[in-house]
Amino acid sequence: MSKIDENEILNRLNNLSQVEPTKETTDHAMQRVRDTLMNNEGRRVGLAPPSLMSGLMKLAAAAVLMVGAGFIGGRLSAPEPVNMQELQAALESSLKSSLEPAIRRQLHDEFESRLQLALAAERNMLKQELAQQVHRDMETYAGQTLTTVGDLMDQRLVEFARMIEVARIKERQRVAAAFDYMGSRFGDSLVTLASQRNNLAGAELTGPTPNKSEN
């Protein structure tokens, strides 16, 4: 029946798959979508939330049904035809009295729960931000303290090294003075020893003095 073979179909589909829109049109389309979505979000924020609307609608429908049922029951049991204006006024007042407090209460509850949720989210966010801030501050403080301690340690070490060097120089000077003193004392002793030896030698050469009693 068909004249077209599968290859021809696949070829056509393959040609279609090669179609690519330009980057400009793609960017333009995406930007438009973004703008539209942003507008929609903004509009939605202004309206009551869908859950609230649906709840109110249900409540209103129930109230209308109840009032309607009451009206029909009253109409059937009423002996005389009802004045329409009176009925309208009665309906309005009954609707107002039955719906208004419930709507107010529901709105109040809904807004309160939403407010609580928003506040809880805000509190969590603040807590996280505060924790991050404290963490950052602690890190900065720790870094600064480490740097200061390191600098002080270096300074003290340099001072210590200088004091050791001064002490060593003083010690050397004392030792050198001691050696000088010892050297000078040793020289004096040698001189004294030499002079005494000379005296002794001179006395031996002259010999002993003759004893007058021996003669």
Binding site: M1, S2, K3, I4, D5, E6, I9, L10, R12, L13, N14, N15, L16, S17, Q18, V19, E20, P21, T22, T25, T26, H28, A29, M30, R32, V33, R34, T36, L37, N40
Partner: protein, 166 residues
């Protein structure tokens, strides 16, 4: 949107062959996705968006066929004749093929578009559709067969018309 927006726009361009229509459909698609409650429940959001885009594009093609404009009011495709898109737009065969794809069943159409227009792997399609790879292969071959039948019957009808006119 940043992740798959460009892909969706390219898909819509392939299916409509008109960039300005693709742009409009893209708007519609994201507004629908934004409003739809099913979007939040969908396991694979990207696949959900793609299927919605395919359906939107073929709905547009059907609506175009139903509202036949007078010859003077037919909008010119917004593409250069020298570009690949421009050449394809003017190709009657390609338009016929797309129309025939639109007449297939939903599952066949989706599989065909994902496999042959988006060039996705069988495994990837299977994952998106919640089927096995073998089922997807079978669906693809059945879809091609159906497409061939639809295109064949179209040609048969058009040739009959030509003979009748002569």
């Amino acid at each position: 949107m940043d992740k798959s927006g460009a892909d969706l726009y390219a898909l819509l361009t392939r299916l409509t062959l008109r960039e300005e229509v693709a742009e409009e459909l893209m708007q519609e698609l994201f507004i629908k996705l934004n409003k739809s409650r099913g979007t939040g429940n969908a396991a694979n959001l990207e696949a959900y968006a793609r299927r919605a885009a395919i359906n939107l594009a073929f709905d547009w093609r059907r609506s175009q066929k139903q509202t036949t404009l007078p010859l003077g009011q037919v909008a010119e495709p917004a593409s250069n004749d020298d570009s690949p898109l421009g050449k394809l737009v003017h190709s009657e065969e390609i338009q016929q093929t797309l129309d025939a794809v639109g007449r297939l069943k939903k599952a066949s159409r989706e599989v065909l578009v994902m496999r042959y227009l988006q060039q996705e792997s069988y495994d990837n399609i299977a994952e998106q559709l919640g089927k096995t790879s073998h089922q997807v292969r079978a669906l693809c071959s059945r879809a091609i067969r159906n497409l061939r039948d639809v295109l064949g019957s179209n040609e048969h009808k058009s040739s009959k018309k030509e003979i009748h006119n002569v």
